[in-house]
């Protein structure tokens, strides 16, 4: 499968990337390319131009930042997985990074690319939603922060404007009490359903992977927990407000049942 023809430009600075985006409405940014290129090969997307930001090495980092951890948008999954800082301060990010795709994919794929792609079946958007991450976008007018709750407005849509580059992701320190339950039929598959749970302020944030058009918080579960429900009782509300897909991996009904089981397991692990 060969992508439709496009122009290619490699840029050395974020400013150059922004300028290139502004010069061509049909252009898209290329980071690791492991979400974008498969879509282009299927011709689901046909950008007029790819602006390669893959060499902006300044945007590949993980460091402690006040009360949280700052992650450069171009940090590869492989580097997240290996990061001692993440393993200690936000272990769910390091652990889940190691569960995305396979080693070859993790050598190329970046956290920022995954967020910008906003696949509801992607693991990392769901984890960042549970963590209440802050996303830093850089555009022609400078930087702005986007809250996790606003980052994923629709299917394969992020809150980034057409001339913005996602530059940093900030997550709170969450060293204890977390779980990611990824249910797959085979190694390397996308999650049929995934559940992220992170203990916060005596309760837990819970989010769902592949249960609708966007990654989403399990609002019913969180409400039940805040009201004092135990994990098993709270998990019964896992499918509230969801609209799971039906496909060859499972029906809507199957995914709803699965989400309840996985939320219970995630809460039991995160709150233990």
């Amino acid at each position: 499968m060969i992508p439709a023809a496009f122009d290619y430009e490699r840029v050395d600075t974020v400013d150059a990337a922004i300028a290139a985006l502004r010069a061509d409405e049909g252009a898209k940014l290329l980071a690791g390319g492991h979400s974008l290129l498969p879509q282009m090969k299927l011709r689901f997307v046909m950008p007029t131009k790819l602006i390669d930001i893959g060499r902006l090495h300044d945007l590949s980092y993980v460091h402690e930042d006040g009360g949280g951890v700052a992650i450069g948008a171009l940090t590869r999954y492989h580097d997240l997985e290996a990061s001692e800082t993440l393993r200690q301060l936000a272990p769910i990010v390091a652990s889940v990074a190691g569960q995305v795709g396979d080693p070859q994919v993790r050598h190329m794929g970046t956290i920022g690319g995954s967020v910008a792609h906003a696949d509801p079946a992607g693991d990392m958007p769901s984890v960042l939603l549970a963590l209440g991450a802050t996303f830093v976008a850089t555009g022609p007018g400078g930087m702005r922060e986007i809250a996790a709750a606003d980052m994923f407005p629709g299917l394969f849509q992020s809150a980034l404007a057409g001339d913005e580059v996602l530059t940093e992701i900030r997550v709170p320190k969450t060293p204890g009490g977390w779980s990611y339950q990824k249910f797959t039929r085979r190694a390397q598959d996308w999650a049929v359903v995934g559940v992220a749970a992170v203990r916060m302020n005596g309760s837990a944030n819970v989010s769902l992977t592949n249960m609708g058009l966007t990654p989403m918080r399990a609002a019913g579960v969180e409400e039940a927990l805040a009201g004092g429900a135990d994990p098993a009782t709270a998990a019964e509300r896992a499918d509230e407000g969801t609209a799971p897909p039906s496909d060859s991996f499972g029906s809507d009904e199957y995914r709803r049942a699965l989400a309840k089981v996985l939320v219970r397991r995630a809460l039991e692990e995160a709150l233990a």
Binding site: A5, Y8, R10, L50, G101, P103, Q104, Q188
Partner: protein, 158 residues
């Protein structure tokens, strides 16, 4: 067209290609290095695995332009003259292949992994191969080959 200049198996190679040229076809068709196979073409099967600056990547899901200025190793670069690489030798010795289609990718994935973890357990090797499919062997002898190679490579360095 975009200019791509890469070091492949130690030699500088360059060409002008369309930006949409995937690395696997650049290797196979532009450079004539047909040892790297294009299998599923969807970054699932791993038969197109090559090393980019020493790390395994799937060359069907990468543009040749993304490799510009970087170093590639393909299966053709593993042997030194008539001397097979320890992984190639152990795949031969342990019957680690049947049809052979997945083998170049298996060897390149294993080469990348053994640099990270020179003395893996059987479980480690199976997990490290999650991005490589084989439809013949049931993986038994592939895993055996990689463990055997890890042993002989460690022995060679001792």
């Amino acid at each position: 067209m975009t200019h791509v200049s890469v070091t492949v198996n130690g030699a500088m190679r360059e060409a002008d290609v369309e930006p949409r040229t995937l690395l696997v076809y650049f290797l196979r068709e532009t450079l004539g290095l047909t040892g790297t196979n294009a299998g599923c073409d969807t970054s699932s099967c791993g038969s197109c695995t090559v090393l980019l600056d020493g790390e395994s990547v799937k060359s069907c899901t990468m543009l040749a332009a993304q490799a510009d200025g970087r170093e590639l190793t393909t299966i053709e670069g593993m042997a030194e003259g008539d001397q097979l690489h320890p992984l190639q030798e152990s795949f031969r010795r342990n019957h680690g292949l049947q049809c052979g289609y997945c083998t170049p990718g298996m060897i390149m994935a294993a080469a990348s992994y053994l640099k990270e973890n020179p003395s893996p357990s059987e479980g480690d090797v199976r997990l490290a191969l999650e991005g490589n499919l084989c439809r013949c062997t049931g993986y038994q002898n592939i895993v055996k080959s990689i463990l055997d190679a890890a042993g002989s490579m460690a022995g060679a360095e001792a």
